[in-house]
């Protein structure tokens, strides 16, 4: 399947998230082997009030979520392919495991880039290596994330 602008937009449209839990702004590239996307953590996000008190830092769990949404779910939707009606399928997803290492803090307002590399996609289980970089191209976190993903036939 050749990559087209329309493909990336339709993948974004099928993401089953919305504010305040959507952590994908842009899908830069996607193919059989991986995905790359970008997200900016808005300064005004509510969680900065409490993480940490008077010292806002993006929670690691949200960096993991951002890696999963871009690296695993966007790629997974691409891999599910056509839904038979000429469009990408509506996915049904579940995270099954994540093992992450956090190297640098991400502060409010920072833009991060996530790159994933497919380890395997078999029997609806997608397992990827993921890496997140900040705007200085420094690695922020990396790890391995896996989830179950299948086309939702009820939609």
């Amino acid at each position: 399947m050749p990559e087209k602008m329309g493909m990336r937009t339709s993948i974004l449209n099928k993401l089953p998230y919305s504010e305040p839990f959507l952590f994908v702004d842009e899908l830069i590239a996607v193919d059989e082997n991986g995905a790359e996307g970008r997200f900016t953590f808005l300064k005004a996000s509510d969680f900065y009030k409490g993480h940490f008190r008077n010292n806002p830092v993006t929670p690691g769990v949200l960096l993991t979520e951002c890696c999963a949404q871009i690296g695993l779910v966007c790629l997974g939707i691409y891999l599910l392919g056509d839904n038979g009606k000429g469009e990408v399928a509506q996915p049904q997803i579940g995270l099954s495991s994540s093992e992450m290492e956090f190297l640098l803090p991400v502060f409010p307002g920072e833009t991060v880039t996530v790159r994933s590399e497919k380890l395997y996609f078999r029997f609806n289980k997608l397992k990827c290596k993921v890496k997140m970089y900040n705007s200085d191209h420094k690695m922020v976190c990396r790890g391995t994330i896996a989830g179950m993903i299948k086309a939702n036939s009820n939609v």
Partner: protein
């Protein structure tokens, strides 16, 4: 590789993915992977991938759909090995 040896090899793979509240002794040929051994669908895939490596076979989606019990897995392994 005899039947007992195949069963033992399969048990060794399954035990890696058992949840903490299920013991190895609870694995029998009749055990249902998800309903009795409490193995989730993601770990069932892990078992299949390990089985492929251990027995040097390749399973298809149909095989996966049929693999409900330990006995089903053994039957599929036997079938693939003898192909």
């Amino acid at each position: 590789m005899g039947k007992d040896e195949r069963y033992q090899k399969l048990r060794d793979i399954i035990k890696i993915y058992l949840p903490e509240d299920v013991s190895i002794e609870q694995i029998s040929e009749e055990s249902h992977f998800t309903e009795e051994l409490n193995i989730n669908s993601a770990h069932l895939v892990d078992i299949v991938l390990d089985v492929e490596d251990a027995f040097d076979i390749t399973l298809e989606n149909d095989d996966m759909d049929q693999m409900q019990t330990v006995k089903d897995a053994l039957r599929i392994i036997d079938l693939k090995i003898n192909k």
